[in-house]
Subunit: 744 residues, 2 copies
């Protein structure tokens, strides 16, 4: 999972007033149907039960349950039995995928201060599941290549692109070195990727206590934060190229699927990687020579952080069992009564790195409660119009394996039938955070106005919106004062929505509560378990309940509507902002390059260089040409117009129904370009993608934005044209939908 | 001393070009005289000698030489002998002032984890003067009141106004508590002042290793930075009210001067204060309960920083010998040949907290070399037109004692005769940093173009200007691209210029090199000594030489000119910026208060509050009225016009001479208002003052700016009027000077 996602961002006094007035009918519903729907939803929201959430968590986290482990399969079978006991039609869909596990892990500092890293998270007496050594995966980064390397060490801060620029300015190269990077800022897989691109031969990633340890709060078990020997496991596969089974890109890894040979897999790291604790990291950091690291590179250990290189050599050796392991996706279906060929999908993964209470069971357990409650409603006579699918995915942790293989296997059906995908992952306590497709922005706003925040008793929507105000001044708020809907973030990567939205163009949402507990404190450690979660996070499961209420209401409201309640004026407004951003980005980069070139020419770098700590002037860079943004500007304006027309039409014909839906299901799909993004065709969505060099972080209008960021000037105009064409396809869909509705 | 002052800030390509062309005649010089002057100055700049700088330092730092110590007097006598040996007319001027020294210092943590602070900087074998225990002042804060208090501890970060706002939002009060603050951000005297204003009963100040220790580089003696037991001594007198002898405010503390009783002195702290090392601070910080401190409050110790309060009580007891001690100012005079009644003054203090190599001998030793070189020039036939005074001040560390008493004693003569004051203090290695009166901005630019930076061989001016460019983008640079002069900072406080500029209105400059060495690493510690300085700072005295060359050239060029080379268009431009700033400040505060009030009304604070870490909404604040800035706008425009007229006139009559000078000497004095600033009449300059709640940091247009910052709305218009009147007085002086010159 990714840590807590982006929050609702904005506020409007007008909107608060609206919140407390008599509700208008739900979008896509007739007035009558709207009232009936609200009654069903209220019944639903009374059902999720904190005691059951707690029991579910205790059961699912009782033993380590990573991909391929006995308890992973056991959990899948238990989930299946539960879903069936709720009266739902459920099954396990099995796939298989490459999942390397370690057979050798060695890290030593050579020379006079010889030190061998412990690479072990110790048993804690207070924590009853921390002693399940036989079933725990050791600390490692999955999809690191095998390797045995020896070299000096260089500290690269977070190992992000800007960190390498800084090193270059200091005249420090990582060529032939082993880099040591701290966790944070970028997705972990970016660290070895960039290190290798800069010539490093190995990569160590450690958890610095400033970001992830006593710098944030008391260490476990006294408090929630990572202790000295705690380690963050995690995947380092190059998922921004494609996620899922590395040996079956683009196709479902069902039994007998054709696999590509291991040595042709491009998403395995180019250099060996190993994650370590800060107790293990300290001797390596102390061995670094060179200048004190820049101010914002300094972490929380009581040492002088230096860039290196080290005099002493480090020795890193890792080797893995490159096995294919079974995946057990548990899938329950509630057939639609009147629109069975329109599918509303809900998902959360069930596999973990170890016991996984926070990640993923704090999300999976509420999802299970939703399924139970929907089963109850069915018994009481509730009849969803559309088909509802509840998925409990396996193998999310290594590489979104279970969801991706499921999506790839069912690609054709999903493309025809899927209306929306609602994802969650870890859940904590506090404000509602959400990111998603902007055709669902209004829908998300509408649902969250109807769910109560357990702490403040405001609506979840109002609390997030008001709290978001505090950080913003009136100017920043002004542009949104007249905007009824709170903005939502866009989807990067880090959980199971990727196959749905980026590969197949299914409108998707990722959601959760968080921000008030140090819910990342034991992220991917053996200590992310029932004892820890119930002592330090959402201890009374009040927010587990709120998640079930929120996600379940989304599923119901989407499944029951007379017409799919997409809304496109928010989407158009968002696209216009993205277009403005990439235009500004190209101007900013042009200006920065000109400024830097003039600083080089004038000798400013030479003037600033300290002979005792010399810096190196950057190279003169070509000034970017001007680009033809006209197609994007035109498309954004066209989308604004078409979305407004559509909204007017739906307002007059809320029960347009199946004919309109048939067109509307093509709306998000219109953004797909079958050629995909440059050098990563699996990612086909032209609005959203995980950044090639950020991983978690989204890039919007990615083909254009990344071409500019990566200074690929000759292809920018072409990517503008492709992206504009995708938006114009959306415009066409909206025009057709408007006609279809108006014809009803 | 204050740490490294503000840098030159800007750059202009046009100006670089000008730099390398045939020089125009010096301002205030005829063309002929200008060439002769340049020849003398070149001779001068060849004279300062690194070996002598080193010898001077070794001699002056051989033993502790704080106010009242035997070696303080010994140094004064040695300086006197040196100056006389250079052929200069020199004397010691003796004053006396209150200077408390400790007789009791005790700090304990009570309760189960009882701990008694060591309060001692240990002897280091490598460092030959660290063992002079009998002569070292213990670690303490001078002008703390006596006191014996016991209470819980609260951590207040830097103890700045914003930190108390943050505590209030967290619902934490310091009432009845002992605060523990880290050094940094504000001047140290602000910490106990604000703590007392918020109801605290005691104040501990410690050096956090993040800011001042291993977080910055290796610890002494392996590297330059403060070790675990290192302590920063220093004054906590309320100098923003008035500096100098607390018992003789406004008058010279000569023998027999009338003193006010101790219990009527308002600048002694209201609560007891003690500085400690981070080794001593750690047990106290570990005793703090409450929530983890906000992210940017966390320092470099390997602990979870918390706000407190602590369960355990702390006990702080301090008592002092409240003695009056002698001060020995050493003053040398070179009589002016043609304009003996116009005085150019140069100064640096000679007293230290302990051995004081960095602070102040790295500045005093170059000053002595300047005096020697000027003595040589006199022998070679150089004849300065104006009188030159070289002052080596005593008692700067406790409260600018020696310079302030000298200024107060000679106030009348100085008001009649002083043309400029050039100050330095500690010196290090790197870029030239300077702040001063803006009538000298052009002069400073002119001098620094003629001094070579020893590392880059560019001019000192060009290096500072180019290096300043690196941090600024082309927009930020654009406004200054056509401005020939680099901007200089304004004078706050922290060294001996205060009496000259703030009290008497003498155009002043404070200067030094720095930024490349961790020159503050042993600030006010026993380890700021010859061994440390010669191993880690300006080890070859290249920048000591550069300081002598720069300051000495300033003195010569000012003393030799045909007309005082003040320039006022830079001053007018700066004043216009200040006026715009205070206008903007009032708008910003109005907006912030409105925003906050609307957040309170809408419930945003309640929405953001976490019940497990509740926050408190601020109180509704009165929205500020609009103010009448017309007088300031008018005055700024009048000054722009008058300065431009003056510059044109001087251009045509560079040798206007004594008659013009007589008027010009009133220029900076015009900014004085005899009533002084609100509640601190000693500070009479209406353009510059140290901030009442920043200490080191300057407040420009202080009467207006602080009235707004402190929300004293009813007095703002009145302070605008007074400040505008001061500027209009300056306009009058410039008009008279223009007439005087044109009449020549």
């Amino acid at each position: 999972m990714r840590l807590f996602p982006a929050l609702f961002l904005i506020a409007s006094v007008a909107a608060y007033a609206a919140d407390s007035q008599q509700p208008a009918p739900l979008r896509g519903y007739t007035a009558e149907h709207s009232a009936a729907e609200s009654a069903w939803e209220q019944k639903f929201r009374a059902m999720p039960d904190a005691a059951r959430l707690r029991e579910n968590m205790q059961r699912l986290t009782a033993r380590p349950h990573h991909v391929g482990s006995p308890y992973d399969k056991n959990n899948a079978e238990w989930l299946l039995a539960q879903l069936k006991s709720y009266g739902l039609n459920a099954k396990i869909e099995q796939f298989e995928a490459l999942f390397p596990t370690p057979k050798l892990r060695k890290l030593e500092l050579l020379g006079a201060d010889k030190f061998t890293a412990k690479l072990d998270e110790p048993v804690l007496d207070l924590d009853p599941t921390s002693n399940q050594k036989d079933e725990q995966l050791p600390t490692y980064n999955a999809y690191s290549r095998d390797g045995d390397v020896t070299g000096s060490l260089v500290y690269v801060n977070y190992g992000a692109p800007a960190d390498y620029e800084r090193l270059e300015a200091m005249g420090i190269s990582v060529k032939g070195a082993i880099v040591i990077a701290r966790y944070g800022q970028t997705w972990r897989g970016i660290k070895p990727k960039l290190a290798a691109e800069h010539g490093a031969i190995g990569c160590i990633i450690y958890s610095d206590p400033k970001d992830d340890g006593y710098g944030q709060g008391d260490s476990y078990p006294d408090g929630p934060m990572r202790p000295a020997d705690g380690v963050q496991r995690g995947s380092v596969m190059d998922m921004p190229v494609y996620p899922g089974d590395p040996q079956t890109p683009g196709i479902g890894a069902v039994a007998g699927a054709k696999t590509i040979p291991l040595d042709q897999v491009e998403t395995i790291t180019k250099i060996p990687v190993l994650p370590i604790s800060y107790a293990d990291a300290k001797p390596f950091l102390l061995a670094l020579g060179g200048q004190p690291a820049p101010n914002n590179w300094r972490g929380g250990l009581p040492i002088t952080y230096r860039t290196g290189p080290s005099k002493a050599q480090a020795h890193l050796a890792v080797a893995f069992n490159w096995d294919r392991k079974p995946l057990y996706d548990v899938v329950a279906t509630i057939p639609g009564s009147t629109l069975p060929d329109e599918w509303v999908i809900r998902g959360n993964h069930h596999d973990a790195w170890v016991n996984g209470a926070g990640d993923p069971v704090s999300g999976a357990s509420p999802e299970l409660e939703e399924a139970r409650a929907l089963g109850e409603l069915l018994k009481q006579g509730w009849k969803p119009q559309r088909t509802i699918i509840y998925g409990f995915w396996d193998g999310e942790e290594p590489a979104l394996l279970g969801s991706t293989e499921w999506v790839e296997t069912h690609a054709q059906e999903l493309s025809q039938h899927a209306v929306a995908y609602f994802n969650s992952d870890g859940n904590s306590r506090g404000l509602f955070g959400v990111a998603g497709s902007h055709s669902l922005e209004n829908f998300i706003n509408s649902v969250t106005k109807d769910v109560e925040d357990p702490e403040t008793k405001m609506s979840v929507w109002k609390r997030a919106r008001l709290a978001g105000d505090l950080g913003r001044d009136s100017d920043a708020r002004a542009e949104d004062r007249n905007r009824a809907d709170s903005r939502i973030g866009a989807l990067g990567s880090g959980s199971d929505y990727s196959g749905f939205v980026h590969h197949l163009g299914i409108p998707s949402v990722n959601m959760g509560f968080g921000g008030e507990d140090e819910d990342g404190g034991q992220y991917h450690s053996i200590y992310d378990d029932f004892y820890w979660y119930t002592h330090f996070v959402d201890t009374d499961f009040a927010y587990g309940k709120a998640l079930a209420q929120t996600a379940g209401t989304m599923v119901m409201r989407m499944a029951d509507a007379d017409t799919i309640p997409y809304q496109f004026t928010d989407q158009a407004d968002t696209v216009r902002n993205y277009v403005n951003e990439v235009k500004k980005l190209s101007d900013t980069m042009r200006k920065q390059i000109k400024d830097r070139n003039s600083n080089i020419a004038e000798g400013a770098y030479a003037a600033a260089s300290d002979p005792k700590k010399p810096t190196v002037a950057p190279k003169v860079d070509a000034v970017p040409p001007y680009f033809n943004f006209a197609p994007l500007d035109q498309a954004a304006d066209d989308l604004t117009a078409a979305s407004s027309e559509y909204d007017k039409a739906l307002g007059s014909h809320p029960a347009a129904g199946a004919k309109a839906d048939a067109v509307l299901m093509g709306a998000e799909r219109a953004f797909l370009d079958p050629r995909g993004l440059p050098n990563r065709p699996w990612y086909a969505h032209m609005l959203y993608a995980p950044g090639l060099y950020t991983g978690y972080g989204v890039k919007t209008l990615p083909a254009v934005r990344e071409a500019i960021e990566q200074k690929q000037w000759p292809v920018v105009d072409e990517q503008i044209a492709r992206t504009a064409a995708a938006i114009e396809r959306e415009v066409e869909v909206l025009r057709k939908a408007t006609s279809a509705i108006s014809a009803e």
